[in-house]
Symmetry: C3
Subunit: 268 residues, 3 copies
Amino acid sequence: MEKSKVHALLKRVREINPLIHNITNIVVANFSANGLLALGASPVMADAVEEVDEMAKSADAVVLNMGTLNRESLEAMIVAGKSANEQGVPVILDPVGVGATSYRTEAASKLINEVKCSIIRGNAAEIANLIGEKWAIKGVDAGNGNGDVFALSMAAAKKLKTVVVVTGKEDIISDGQSTNSVQNGHFILTKVTGTGCLLSAIVGAFAAVENNYLDAATAALVFYGVAAEIAANKTDEQGPGSFQIEFLNQLSLVSSSEIDLYGSFHTK
Amino acid sequence: MEKSKVHALLKRVREINPLIHNITNIVVANFSANGLLALGASPVMADAVEEVDEMAKSADAVVLNMGTLNRESLEAMIVAGKSANEQGVPVILDPVGVGATSYRTEAASKLINEVKCSIIRGNAAEIANLIGEKWAIKGVDAGNGNGDVFALSMAAAKKLKTVVVVTGKEDIISDGQSTNSVQNGHFILTKVTGTGCLLSAIVGAFAAVENNYLDAATAALVFYGVAAEIAANKTDEQGPGSFQIEFLNQLSLVSSSEIDLYGSFHTK
Amino acid sequence: MEKSKVHALLKRVREINPLIHNITNIVVANFSANGLLALGASPVMADAVEEVDEMAKSADAVVLNMGTLNRESLEAMIVAGKSANEQGVPVILDPVGVGATSYRTEAASKLINEVKCSIIRGNAAEIANLIGEKWAIKGVDAGNGNGDVFALSMAAAKKLKTVVVVTGKEDIISDGQSTNSVQNGHFILTKVTGTGCLLSAIVGAFAAVENNYLDAATAALVFYGVAAEIAANKTDEQGPGSFQIEFLNQLSLVSSSEIDLYGSFHTK
C-alpha cells in the first residue's frame, strides 16, 4: 500500500461521513463518539436488543466493543453482528479484556462463532487469549508477554479467518497472508482511557469506505498514530488532559501532507 | 420577549441552582452534568426504576433523553414523568433518533401518551417523525429534509399540545400559537457529541425557573447559542476538542452584556 | 503522619500501578478512569455480575460507587465486595446520594451489612444518612446541614467500624479513634461532575499500597487537594472546562516538592 491510499481513504471518510454503529461501554462511549465526529464520521451508539438489528442494517460499519460487557450487551452485539453480516456491513470487534476473566473469554468465543468479523483489534494479550495462547493480562491491559507479535497476528488471522490488528509499541496488521506494521503512535495514548476503543471505532470508519480490510485497517492506524504524535508534540509535558483534547483536535485536522511527512508503515 | 427576560432567567437559574433530574444516555451523561454545573444548575442522573419516582418529585425539572434507550430506561422515564406530572414539575423530552428505528418511534409514542411533556426538543427529523410526518434521518442525526421548519414546529406543538423546539441552523420554538426563532449557535456544535442533549437539559434548567415554557425555551436557546458563538470564536480553527472545553467555560461565564451584544431572536 | 509519608505512598502508587476495580456509574466512568491513569494506577471498570467476582480477586483495590445504582449493579457490588473481602483486597465505598431516595438508603444499608468496607467516603449528608442521622440533602449534593463534621466522622467510623472520610470545605478522616483533617482542595471542584467519585477511586489507589487506611486516605486527600489547587491556580477564571483538563494534567504531575509546599493536614 502507498501513502496515497491513506490520503484517499481519509478523504473518502471525510466526504461520505459513514454511519458507524457502536455497541460499546460506559467508559468510552463519549470519547468514541467525539473521536468519530472529529474524524468526520457519524457515530450512533444504540444498544437495545430491540433496535440493534435495524440500526446495524442502516449503518456503514458496526463496531462491537466488549469493555463493560453484560448479558444484554452481549445479546445485542450478536443480533447487530448477524444483521450486519446479512447486509454485507463490515463488523469490527474489540475484545477488551479477553483473558482477564473467564466470562469475557467465553463471551468472545461465542461472539466470533456467531458473527463473522471483518477486523478484530486488540492488544497482544487479548488476541493471544482469543486464540487460546498464553499471554499475561492485567485488568484490561496487555501484560508483559514476550511473544512474537508478528507470528501472533498471522496465526490469529489464519485461525479466525479475518484481518487481525495487534496494537502495541508497533502495530501489526495481518490477513493471514500479508502482514503490515505501523510505527506511528505515542506512549501517552496509554495514559488516556479508551484510546484503544476509539481506534477500533476509527478502523470501522475506514472499513466503511474500503473493503480491502488489510488496507483499511492499516490506513486507519497510520492516520490515528500521526494524529497522536502531532497532539503529543503540541502538548509536550502538559499532561494527559491536554493531550486528550488536542488529540480530538488533530483527528479533525490531520492532512495529507502530515501523513506524507510522518506516516510510517511497512509490509513484511 | 425582551432580552432583559433572558438576563432575568439566567440570573434566576444561577441564584436558585435548580435540581435537574436527568434520565439520559451513556454517551452524554458526563457532558450534560458538567454543562448543567457550569450553568449553575444541580444535575442528578438517577435512572433506577426503584427511585426515579422519588427523585423526580424532589426535582425542579425532569429531562428525559432517549439516546441509548432500553426497556429499563423507558420504564424509568415513564415512572419519573408521571411523578413529575403529579407534582407539577416540568418535563422536557429529547426524542433522540426517533424515526431511526421503529423501536424508538414506538417508545416515543408511548412516552408522549403516558407523560405530559412541557417542552419537546429535537431536530427537524425527530420532531417530524414524532408526529408521523416523513423526514429523512441518518442514525441519530437530522437528514436533509427540505420541509418548512416553521410549519413543522407549529403543527407539532398543536398536535402534541406542548412547546416544541426544533433545532437546526436556525432554531424554532412554538407553543402552537406563537412562534419564536433563534439565530444564535455555531456549526461546530454538530462536531461535539451531546450538544443537543445538553441543550435539552439546559432548557430544563430554564423551565425550572419560568413556567411560560415558550419564553423559558427561547431564553435557554439564546443563552446556549451565545455561549457557543463565543467559545467557537475563542478556539477558532483549533478543533472540536478545544471548542468542547471552552464551551463548558462559557456556559459558566456568559454575562448579560454578552447576551445583549450577541443575542438574536425574533417572534413570528 | 508526616508529609514524607504522602510522598512515599504517591511514589509507591506510581511505581506499582495498582489495579483498581471500579463498579461505578455512567456519569463518571470516563473521568474516573482517566484520573486513575493520570495518577499512575490501572483502572478496570467491569460490572457484569458474571465476572466481578474474578475481577475483584485480581485487583489491588475495589471501589464501589452508588452514583447510578440499579438492581444489577447493586448485586455486582455485593459479589465484588465479598470476593475482595475473602482475598483481603481493600474495599472503598462511595455512597453517592444516600438519603436522597429511600432506595439508595436501603441499598447502602444492604451493602455495608454484606461487605466489609475498608474506607467509606462521602459528603456530610451522605455519611449522616448512612448512620441514620438527619442532614439535609439535595439530589446527590450535600445540603446545608450545620452539624459538627468532626463528631460525625468519628461517630460514623465507630458505628461502621471502618475509616470514614467526610469531604467538604475541610475534609475529615477518622478511624473512630484518631481523626485527621485536610485543608487542601478548591471550590471549583464542586463545578465539575465526578470529582467526589474520582477522589474515592484515588483513595482506593492509595489503599492498594498502604494498609493503614487512615494514613492512605489522608495521603490521597492531600495529594488530590494539592493537584486541584495547582490546577485552579493555572486556569484562574477560565472556567470549569479548563480546570477539569488541567486537573487531569496535575494528577500526573504533582511532585513531592509541591506536596511539601502546599500540603496542609493535621491530626486532632
